[in-house]
């Protein structure tokens, strides 16, 4: 009979509608019908979505303890490998004679800019970094009032502590810390052990 199919469809929508109310869910349960997912939206600004640990937004630079002890040595591999070419590094810093300046035994970049209006959060910079100096952030509520300088993140804006990294990505940070510890042990002079 014509119309049965349409009525069947309407019954589906009706059941979904009832299922969005607690009382309705109770009714459906009583009647032995599937309750469905119920309400699947959230009241956004008050309630926030929980993201997976690997959720990646834009990269940031990691420092240990103090901001001048950054892990980046300005080797420029990420600048070279970045697919949309959004990283610009000036450095490593040098003195007047052209010898590299060092802090905490490492060279460091004079400038490190990421144009986040170009960055596509692909994570290739993290994959290629041999020093684990750059990692993916997960802060995504980062709108800004302008679209030129405001979206060009400088070194100062990009620097975040290793503790922050530990907090947002505990599993990945544990692996990175292990790797760095192994590296430090290898490079340390054998007499000290």
């Amino acid at each position: 009979m014509i119309g049965i199919g349409v009525l069947k469809g309407m019954w589906v929508t009706l059941r979904q509608f009832i299922g969005t109310y607690p009382a309705g869910r109770w009714l459906l349960k009583r009647a032995g019908l599937p309750e469905g997912d119920g309400l699947c939206t959230i009241e956004y600004p008050e309630v926030k979505q929980q993201h997976a640990e690997r959720h990646r937004v834009f990269p940031f630079l990691v420092y240990d303890a103090t901001p001048d002890n950054l892990r980046c040595v300005a080797c420029k591999i990420c600048e070279q490998e970045c697919p949309p070419q959004c990283i610009h590094i000036v450095g490593p810093a040098k003195d007047e004679q052209g010898r590299p300046l060092k802090t905490h035994g490492r060279t460091y970049p004079l400038r490190f800019d990421i144009d986040v209006s170009i960055c596509m959060s692909c994570r290739i910079c993290v994959d290629v970094c041999p020093f684990d100096a750059i990692e993916m952030d997960n802060a995504h509520e980062i709108s800004s009032g302008g679209r030129f300088q405001e979206l060009n993140y400088t070194k100062e804006q990009l620097l975040k502590s290793a503790d922050y990294f530990q907090k947002i990505k505990p599993t990945e940070a544990a692996v990175v810390d292990q790797r760095l510890a192994a590296k430090a042990k290898k490079s340390a002079p054998p007499s000290s052990s």
Partner: protein, 378 residues
């Protein structure tokens, strides 16, 4: 006595900005009354010369750009390029676990794509909102899985030559199993909403019929080809990866109309669920990427295929045959990088499908072809 009127053909533009064109796509239609007598697709509004970009960077750096071809199916796009690169290098080992992860991700992608497509098809037909939102609600659950594994919901950038970039996170398989177990219930509900609906039958049956011979001759691939009755699924024919290990059927249509194209996709989703059940049961533990693959991830410039090597890798993407054609000149960058995009080539027959139908039918015929402009224009 019959009165005669002078009539003239009317040319109208559907698109480029039109909610039913799935992006910026224009159809120049010539109408005789309400009937289409000629229709020319016009594309290129989203053209960004993806191939030229790919030739200017390393093989690995192209992966994030492939995500943006068919942005519903980032995982399968990555997989196709990875297979082409593996072929170009003369074979890179892929560990067992990575093979299973690839299959799981491909089939989840197929679920996402077909679910959303059916939602959009109904949207084009005038069932505004409801089926589309039901589809999006289910898609959301799978996108959460993608986010857990790769870090991004749509731009996954996950599959790499020699395996996958990272191993699955803890609890991923359990969560997937739960979604796979619940999915048939959603499909049943979706079908109750749509499959017997008389309005949908009226709108879709005998509309946009694609004969089998024309489908094969015009290189149409994917569910659209199978809806016309041609038994050709690259998962079966080429048996890439570990697909020969799974038992699944290839659903075929008979009439080749819009309704068959819709129904073949529903059946394909059920087959995908079967593959997922098997893969989730059998997935072994172990490494998720081979040493050679890991080297490619961490230092892309060390990958230099021999000069003159060429490879054409293709997979059964949700929309059809997705192929990557690579030619090397011995440098870290491909000399030629070509994408054989299924939605672009499936559009070849659009005019044939639309002739003789009404304007309103053109919209659902286009919807049933399943195009994404990111892939058509590249």
């Amino acid at each position: 006595m019959t009165a005669t009127f002078d009539t003239q053909l009317l040319e109208i533009n559907l698109g480029p900005q039109h909610p039913s064109t799935h992006g910026v796509f224009r159809m120049q239609a010539i109408l005789d009354g309400e009937t289409i007598v000629k229709l020319k697709p016009v594309m290129g509004y989203l053209h960004r010369n993806h191939e030229q970009l790919g030739e200017g960077m390393t093989y690995i750096a192209s992966f994030p750009f492939t995500d943006r071809l068919d942005y519903f199916c980032a995982m399968t796009n990555n997989l196709a390029l990875a297979l082409a690169i593996e072929q170009l290098a003369g074979g890179i080992d892929v560990p067992e676990r990575a093979q299973y992860i690839r299959v799981i991700m491909s089939e989840l992608t197929r679920l996402v794509n077909h679910t959303v497509l059916v939602g959009f098809l109904l949207n084009d037909m005038g069932a505004f909102g409801t089926p589309l939102l039901y589809a999006f609600r289910e898609r959301e659950k799978i996108l959460d899985l993608f986010e857990a594994a790769s870090g991004s919901r749509m731009m996954c950038n996950y599959v790499r030559p020699g395996g996958v970039r990272e191993d699955l996170p803890e609890g991923f398989l359990e969560q997937t199993q739960k979604i796979v177990n619940e999915y048939p219930r959603f499909l049943d509900e979706f079908e109750a909403l749509l499959t017997d609906n008389e309005i949908i039958l009226q709108r879709t049956q005998r509309v946009g019929v694609l004969p089998k011979e024309l489908a094969i001759n015009a290189s149409v691939t994917g569910p659209m080809l199978r809806a016309s009755g041609a038994d050709y699924d690259i998962r079966k024919v080429d048996g890439y990866g570990i697909y020969p290990r799974f038992s699944f059927k290839v659903p075929l249509g008979t009439a080749g109309d819009v309704y068959d194209r819709y129904f073949v996709r529903i059946l394909e989703m059920r087959e995908s669920l079967k593959i997922l059940q098997q893969a989730l049961r059998e997935i072994p533990s172990g490494p998720s990427i081979s040493p050679k693959g890991l080297q490619l991830v961490t230092s892309p410039r060390t990958f230099r295929p021999p000069k003159g090597a060429e490879a054409y890798g293709r997979i059964e993407a949700p929309k059809g045959e997705l192929g990557f054609y690579l030619v090397s000149d011995g440098s870290p960058q491909p000399y030629r990088y070509h994408v054989r995009a299924p939605s672009f080539i499936n559009l070849t027959v659009l005019e044939d499908l639309c002739l003789g139908h009404k304007v309103a039918d053109v919209i659902i015929i286009l919807g049933s072809i399943d195009i994404v402009m990111g892939e058509v224009d590249r």
